[in-house]
Structures are given as C-alpha cells and as structure tokens.
Amino acid sequence: MPAQAGEESLIHVAIKAETLFTIGPLQFTNSMVGALLASAILLVMAWVFVRHPALVPSRVQSLIELPIEWMSGIVAGSSSRWRGYVALVIGLFMMILVANWLGLLPGVGTIGVRHGEEIVPFVRAAGADLNFTLGLAIVAFLVFVWWGVRIHGPIGYLKELVGEPRYMAPLMFPIHLISELSRLVSLSMRLFGNVFAGEVLLATMLALTTAVVFVLPLAFFVPAVFLGLELLFGAVQALVFALLAMTYISMAIAEQSGGHDEEHADHDEHTTTSDIATSQTASA
C-alpha cells in the first residue's frame, strides 16, 4: 500500500514481487530470494540426511524422516504406481512447507533497502508471488498429463479430451479443455491467495498493535497468535497442494488404466484378508 506524501504507512504489502536488481533482461525479485533460500535449506537438510544415515536415527535424522515417511505412507495408498510420483509429491510438500514457514521468520518482509518512500524487503515469502505458485502448478499439471499420455498413449489421451460420441467433439473438447485448465489455475491461485492473505493479515495486525502498544503493552501478543495460525495454515496449504497433485495423478492412472487398478486393489484386499486370517489362526 503506497503511503501518502508526508506520512509513512506501517503496512507495506505489495501484490507484485519487488525487483532487487536486474541482470540483463532478468529481474531478480525478493520472492526469488525466498525461493532460493527455501531450496538451500532443503539441500542442507538432504546433505545432513545422506551424510551419516543411521539405522537407529538421531534426533535430527528423525526430524527430517518424519514428514517424508508420513507423506510416503499417504502416497503409497493412492495407486499401484505410486513409486513413479512419490518423489514429486514429497518434493512439492517439502518445498512449499519450507517456503511458507520461511516467510514467518523475523526479518523476512521487514528488513530491506529504501526506495524513495518505501522499503523493499530483501526476502519475501515465495508463495506470496504468483510466479512461484504457477511454476509449481505447471510442474504438477505436466506430470499429471504425462501420466495420462504414458498410460493411454498420445492419441488415446486426445480421444479422452474429445470424448464420446465423436459428433459431440466441438462441444465436449472445449469443455474438457476448460475443466483440465481449471485444475492448473486453481492449484496456483489457492496457494498464492492463502499465502498472500496471510502476509496481509500479519502486516495489518502488526501495524494495528504497534499503534496501540504504548497504551496496551500486551497487544504485542496479538500478532504472535496470528503467527501461530500462519504456521498451521502454511502446513495445511503445503499438504493440500501435494495431496491434490497426488489425487490428480492417481485419478489419471485409475481412469486411463481401466480395470487394472481395481484388479490390483482386489488382489491387495485378498492378500490383506488372507493375512488377517493367517494372523487369527496363528494367535489361536
């Protein structure tokens, strides 16, 4: 929000990521710094994890293993071909989670360089930039389409888009196309909307409480409550994005492979039933 001449606004949240410097045609924005920092944190985590992996994990190793094992457990139940996309789903989850939580650290969005009346922060939460969320959504969308094409073939996938009966193609093709594209847009817009709304909420609460803190010192705790909520929302949004990517891919596999997955599911059910029967016999 731009400040009026002569007065300085306490609330500064720009909807567009701000440029820090330019290298040729490339504009280096503060949200890019946020995304790069999140990537660096994930790389360090991976390095710590693979350096000395122990069968009995240390506390640090357990902390890194926990979200990965939890997400693998969820993805493993989604389809029979889960190994093909589990890395992507976990990668999306971890990247968004770290990027969202990074935006809550002190100094992010507040420390920066002065450009005229306004301060341009050095770091901004990556999820508060539509370019970042759209990039992630495009990756998820391409993988989802690739699975459809892989299982059904390019012609088969196009036939799915055209639909049955063929004479309805002029009507059904644009409807299918809009429906498919809405997944891409909804994935990116939801994440961007939630993270950006969180940024605005925190900035507003901080500005309001800073104004009254000399009268009510306890008002400083109000933003802390919202920070706690943002921690939760950051995790929920990361989970929703990853789960939707997983659901779209597993739906593409289930739709395109016809009865294969059902057969697999029947087999699993049969195995599980016989396993339970064996267990009951053994315990008897």
Binding site: G73, G77, H176, L181, R190, T247
Partner: protein, 82 residues
C-alpha cells in the same frame, strides 16, 4: 510380521482415500468459479481479437458454466469409483 503389513496397507489406503477426498473438497469450489472465469475470459479475448462482440463472450460463458457442471459430474464419478 506379514499380517501387520497387511493391516498397515489397509490403513495407508484409507488414509490416502480420506486425504484425496479432503483435497478434492478443497478444490471443487475453486474449480467451479475458475471454469466460468476461463470460459468468459477466453470469449472476451476472442471477441476483442476478431471484433465479434458479444458472440464469443456469451459462448465462452455458456461453455464455462457447462465445464463447471462437467467438473462436478467428473468429481462425483471418480469419488463413486473409489
């Protein structure tokens, strides 16, 4: 060990199904609105390009609403399959 793995697999399947359903529920409302906006936006762009206003805008809006309805049907069909 085997029986435990079987029960664990069942728990994972139900976790994945429940998580997928929650995800779809989060997604459906947004996709309905976006379908209409995409259809309308596409129609407006075509009309601006071909100077045929309001033919493609109306057609795009109808297609967008139809795509939203199709999305509901598609999600319901997939949910029933699962």
């Amino acid at each position: 060990m085997k029986p435990e793995r079987g029960v664990e697999n069942d728990a994972q399947d139900s976790d994945a199904n429940a998580s997928g359903s929650i995800g779809i529920a989060f997604d459906l409302g947004v996709r309905l609105g976006i379908s209409v906006i995409l259809g309308l936006g596409g129609g407006l762009l075509l009309d601006g390009w071909l100077h045929t206003s309001p033919i493609f805008t109306l057609a795009g809006m109808v297609l967008g609403i139809a795509a939203a309805m199709y999305t509901i049907w598609d999600v319901a069909r997939n949910a029933m399959r699962r």
